[in-house]
Subunit: 263 residues, 4 copies
């Protein structure tokens, strides 16, 4: 096509290719979800419909990008981890972040009615960012950080809403009651006051949701230590888990994760 | 809330605040829209349903962010121009780009059924980027670039599809016929061969769509040269146009645009 | 030349081209100059030998880069302002900052013995940074900031060292005496206690030093509003000043500065 | 100190902290050294005075920054490798690059007369850049790249200048003679035509110069796998080498290098 004399303005775009050979994490977060949850009368402390819709949207994102090795989500956020050699969009930060965020949003809105009986009363939206981790151990710490955060928040919220709903406390009273309490105190409140054993709460609430790519049963291609072709990547199976990923055992039982992440 | 020992990983996030006192343009583009248009049997060369849906989504974005002064869109892309003093999200690039892109996507999917009779057969998505322009003249050149591009593409596509649909040419034959032709040649083909006067084509196709914020009738607050409060910004009216913005007259007739952009 | 299999590591370098059409300011600062001044028995509060050596080094930098329009320095720092269209090193930040900083250092060490009777007892060094200003008014404010800083520091230091040297106060006593004083108080201390009229202090101490490029006498090429060729730039004359640049008059009397900066 | 109303311009500075836990390499290169070598009548193909002056300047830089683990230089360039946990200047890129470049320049000019009988006839200067390597293997490949480059250039230059000086060829004739030759051809030319066994050329020319930090004799603190205190780092001894660093043996014989780099 012909060019115009205005073409020079393209020169104001800046290169934003991410450092090679580092793990790219793209995390998306709900914008103004506090208000959004009120408008749509979410169950407290967890609304399983929304969590499953988030999971559905995440699964669609994972399916779309074969270089995503693992995704982790809880509440209104999701993190997507890419294998460190990915060349998608030449590793351009804006393209990666905005496309993931857009596709997630698209899937969230499109699938809303499969999870909710009420129609959307306002538009949900998300923001995103990319963070680079140069080593497998810092990447693991990132994921542990998010899951520890899920645990801390969920224990707090479970106790807070027990005090509010069953204990008939006001917002302020519940906050006061929880001020300065440690983990054991909250377990104790739940158990002695409301007969709730926190350990029996649903795993999805306590641990969040993990998607991984894994070899199909009997297929040991990843243990061979060679890089996977695009075709081979497509044969990987997506698995959904609600388990602890902080302990070493998660990674030892799934050696293909580190192998795939490092390619 | 309590912190975990993994908290240090936050230190890997990088600051991405955009240079102050520059015009921020956020442009979003459809991802893989060629395939998307085929799947949804778009009219050629322009599908007015999709263009109006794009416009609807853009209007929602403009309404949401009161610091957007002007938006310009055609085909599967839209550019949003922010006043140069905007402090939204502390001018953080990822937040701005991803949120705009996400909200646009959300609005696009949510409103699909208002413009199309057929359901979505695949998920639409967009990517986005931010570009900075330090002067009003370079910003005008950016917008002129996009509108000139719209014109060039639309003239080509109009002629191409006339050759294909009415002229019964194959893809390759139409491409061959257009190779090396200049603007006047295409006008001539359209007129002599198909009786189409290109100048009579719909303005939305030829010029794209512009949204601006303008003072309500009789309100001259912007001519006072003082900065608008958030409250005053909300009183501004959003206007939709399909006109030439390359010539000086567009800007001379709307002096409030430059005033607002510069605040 | 032949390439090696290690060549791929070049791909880890990142593009750092600075935004076009913005004023580039490169400021260098002495590293650890407090210790350096003690080792070389600098006069207090100002050592004119060092200031003139700084000026000499700055003049060499200005001479080398014909796109530098103005330089401003005081104490152990210097700022170099480039015309906004400069394409030197494709505006690559690292190249610009490091080369300016290196050449300044080279000139400083090389010319040391022309200004000091004593040999260098330790190696002087500088660090540098680039800052972008998108408008002429923000650039002027940058320069005003540095000159206001020079004034504030010099008034403080002049009073502090009068108290120390003539007033026989200890460091701590002088600091105590100055705590909470405003500008007028310091003028008063200097005048009533030490008979020093601050206004009669050397202009170089109070205002710092400015280098500008200006047309040779009788040459009005810059008023023509057209861009200068490289050849014409070389005909410009470098002028050294110790005057106020905060007031409008400085810029009004030198219209070629804005003209040259904007090309 | 008091602030001025211009202070806001500081807000235009951007954060440039380098990604944590990656190896920082700062490479400096002579600016316009081709001309500089002519002005100072450098010996061809290698001027040992200049190489030793470069080494002297590099040693001063290594001594100054205790987080530099290794430096490699040849011709008019030097690369400095920092341990991956360094927090110097909060890892701010401009500060690191400009200060290293400035100190190197300072040392080069200051020590000139210790290596050259003739005075400086023009000012030497350098530019610099930072490159990040996320893994030890990519860092090793970087260093191998520079040493392979040294070898390729030195073999070419040695042969070229033998043809020029002993073979009495013109520039063009020597270039023609070498066009298309591989390594073995150049060895053969040197040996059969000029009786030069390339393998007997000085190691500094063929391998460049390496500085490393190593434990003092008998001190095994680095093998303990714990991080070194600042005090311990100062006890490390700087070693100068002209050896092959591409082969594994270099690293196997010096296990403390990887240990120190990784802290």
């Amino acid at each position: 096509m012909a060019n115009s004399r205005f073409e020079y303005v393209k020169g104001f775009e800046k290169a934003d290719n991410l450092l090679p050979e580092t793990y790219i994490v793209i995390r998306i977060d709900g914008k103004g979800f506090h208000k959004f949850t009120e408008k749509h009368e979410f169950a407290k402390p967890n609304d399983s419909r929304c969590l499953e819709l988030m999971n559905k949207a995440a699964e669609i994102v994972v399916s779309e990008f074969t270089d995503i090795v693992l995704a982790y989500g809880d509440s209104d956020e999701y993190s997507f981890v890419w294998c460190k050699g990915t060349q998608l969009y030449e590793r351009r930060e804006s393209k990666l972040v905005s496309h993931v965020c857009s596709l997630f949003t698209s899937a969230f809105v499109f699938n809303w009615s499969k999870f909710f009986d009420i129609p959307l009363r306002s538009l949900p939206s998300f923001d995103g960012r990319a963070v680079l981790y140069p080593s497998f151990s810092s990447l693991r710490d990132y994921l542990s950080w998010r899951q520890a955060d899920c645990h801390i928040n969920n224990l707090y919220n479970t106790t807070f809403w027990a005090l509010r709903l069953q204990g008939k406390m006001s917002n302020r009273e519940a906050e006061e009651r929880l001020k300065g309490t440690v983990s054991a105190d909250k377990h104790e409140i739940l158990f002695s006051q409301f007969g709730i054993n926190y350990n029996n709460e649903p795993e999805m609430y306590k641990k969040g949701t993990i998607f991984t790519r894994k070899p199909a049963d009997g297929d040991d291609m990843l243990s061979k230590g060679t890089n996977l072709s695009k075709k081979q990547k497509k044969k990987l199976v997506i698995e959904k888990l609600h388990v602890d990923l902080i302990a070493d055992s998660f990674w030892k039982e799934r050696p293909y994760l580190e192998t795939f992440m490092n390619q």
